[in-house]
């Protein structure tokens, strides 16, 4: 009736789609860094897209399933031999080693029926800086036991088409994994873009940036040339957003991620469009990226297309369940 953590991996936390409506009191939405992969993992086990799952980061955990259950792992590809992007029926007592990320950085392990957790402020996402939400407000540790909400949901496996042994012959598409790096991220101008001269704005767009090792769920630090702002006036602290690219005085940009601060006093040179943030979340430290400027209309189009791609994938999975 549960999952036991034998080894926690680098950073394994419970995440759903986050808590909205509290940025005015300084609480960011948080939630899955790659909500697309989370939605796919949930769909593969017949859950709603926003059910809480385990977010696994770069070095995966070792887990023991103490009861029969239906699980799916989506997002980054790990080398532990666990089948990706498909529903897998787990027998009681089965032990799983997820391994290391071979492509991408984050994967989501969803279990049919979800985990038995108490939402905090409307969400089961773990908010590490505030030490609340998810499983005891922290990353999973050795010996933790997460109960399933429902013991019978593994029966959903019986509905599935294309069964083969304890899994299926088909798989869902990994929508947020890049085939090669550098990945291309679309940006619109940030509020302070114009306070950088043409040379520095070009430098921002021409540079192949690398993700710094000290990046985390709050922000990805980018390694490259230092950006210099023409104006030296102090900036009034303003609202920030998922995907804001802010530049502190040292000139090294920071892309704000799921657990970002809600306001900031650093100049914001660019805003990464919403559709591209999940692909950025799949870069590990050392990962390479470039920026390309686009219009607000293009940003809206990209958002629409990525949602349509996800919806098509979710429909395809639902059909395998005979829906």
């Amino acid at each position: 009736m549960s999952l036991r953590v034998l080894r926690p991996g680098l950073l394994t936390t419970v995440q759903d789609l986050g808590r909205h409506g509290l940025q005015n009191v300084g609480l960011c939405p948080g939630g899955a860094m790659d909500p697309v992969a989370l939605a796919l993992a949930n769909a593969l086990v017949g859950n709603d897209a926003g059910e809480a799952a385990l977010e696994i980061t770069v070095i995966g955990p070792e887990l023991e399933f103490t009861a029969r259950c239906l699980v799916a792992l989506c997002g980054a590809e790990f080398d532990g031999g666990f089948p990706h992007n498909r529903p897998v029926l787990m027998e009681a007592g089965k032990r799983v080693r997820v391994g290391r990320a071979a492509r991408g950085a984050r994967a989501y392990l969803a279990v049919a029926g979800g985990f038995a957790l108490q939402p905090v402020l409307g969400s089961c996402s773990t908010f590490l800086p505030g030490r609340f939400g998810g499983f005891k407000g922290r990353a999973l540790a050795r010996g933790d036991v997460l109960d399933f909400r429902d013991q019978e949901s593994f029966h959903r496996f019986d509905l599935l088409k294309g069964q083969k042994n304890s899994s299926v012959r088909w798989s869902a598409p990994p929508l947020t994994l890049a085939d090669r790096e550098p990945i291309l991220l679309h940006v619109i101008d940030g509020q302070h873009a114009e306070s950088y001269d043409a040379a520095n704005r070009r430098l921002f767009l021409d540079t192949e940036w690398r993700i710094a090792p000290d990046s985390n769920r709050m922000g990805f630090r980018l390694l490259g040339p230092a950006l210099q702002r023409a104006a030296s006036d102090e900036i009034l602290s303003g609202p920030t957003c998922l995907g804001s690219v802010q530049v502190p005085a040292n000139g090294a940009p920071i892309a704000l991620m799921a657990d970002h601060q809600t306001t900031g006093g650093y100049p914001r040179i660019a805003e990464i469009v919403a559709a591209d943030v999940p692909r950025l979340a799949q870069l590990a430290p050392g990962g390479r990226l470039r920026f390309a400027r686009c219009s607000l209309e293009t940003a809206a189009d990209l958002r629409k297309h990525s949602r349509q791609r996800l919806e098509a994938a979710l429909r395809g999975i639902a059909m395998q369940y005979g829906k």
Binding site: H20, L22, G26, C241, G264
Partner: protein, 201 residues
């Protein structure tokens, strides 16, 4: 103005807008990623609709929050430093800080972390040269022309002059944050006994 506009936009309760965030440098409307269309134009239309309908009156929007503070030396770790820098005796620092009428300018940095304006200019001191690794939850601190109350035990470089027994941010509370942007704040000095009694509540 920004606070009154934020309250008005929030009251529209538009499903596509999931966060309305007032800050010193502007007002943010966060649209749900499923929103189709031009968010900039949509945001402008919402703001104009609110302005046309008339913003709520200031007294209807703004609360006054009384915050008990114990300024005893074991809580006000930097009182002596501030005293040296301002050339004011410790008691006068306490009196001047407690006499101030503060406004929450913005919430940011951490959940519930309120930046308050209205600090007596005589108390203006720069941040500490070396930030503390851990500033305790409830620490009342000053720097430049502002004062803050730390919601959690976190690192910080402000000059700590006291501590409140109130819980600034509690995720388990119906209203998790003690402060909201625009609130008026008064600090009330309390002794150790009252601090401990309030802390138990």
């Amino acid at each position: 103005m920004v606070q009154r506009l934020a309250v008005a936009v929030h009251a529209l309760a538009r499903p596509e807008v999931h966060d309305v965030v007032p800050a010193l440098g502007g007002l943010a409307l966060h649209f749900h990623p499923s929103f189709e269309g031009n968010a900039q134009e949509a945001a402008a239309a919402l703001v104009e609709a609110c302005l046309d309908a008339g913003l709520p009156k200031e007294p209807d929007v703004l609360r006054t929050i009384e915050v008990p503070v114990c300024y005893a030396p074991e809580f006000g770790m930097d009182l002596n430093d501030v005293s040296e820098k301002t050339k004011l005796p410790v008691q006068e620092i306490v009196d001047r800080h407690a006499a101030g009428n503060y406004r929450v300018l913005m919430i940011g940095f951490a959940p519930g972390h309120a930046y308050m304006g209205g600090l007596d200019p005589r108390l203006a001191v720069p941040r500490r040269a070396t930030p503390r690794i851990v500033v305790p939850a409830g620490a009342v601190a000053i720097a430049n022309d502002q004062t803050v109350v730390y919601p959690y035990a976190i690192s910080g470089g402000w000059n700590v002059i006291g501590r409140t027994p109130l819980t600034v941010f509690d995720a388990g509370r119906q209203e998790p944050s003690l402060f909201g942007a625009g609130d008026r704040v008064k600090f009330r000095p309390v002794g150790r006994d009252e601090f401990l009694r309030l802390e138990k509540k």
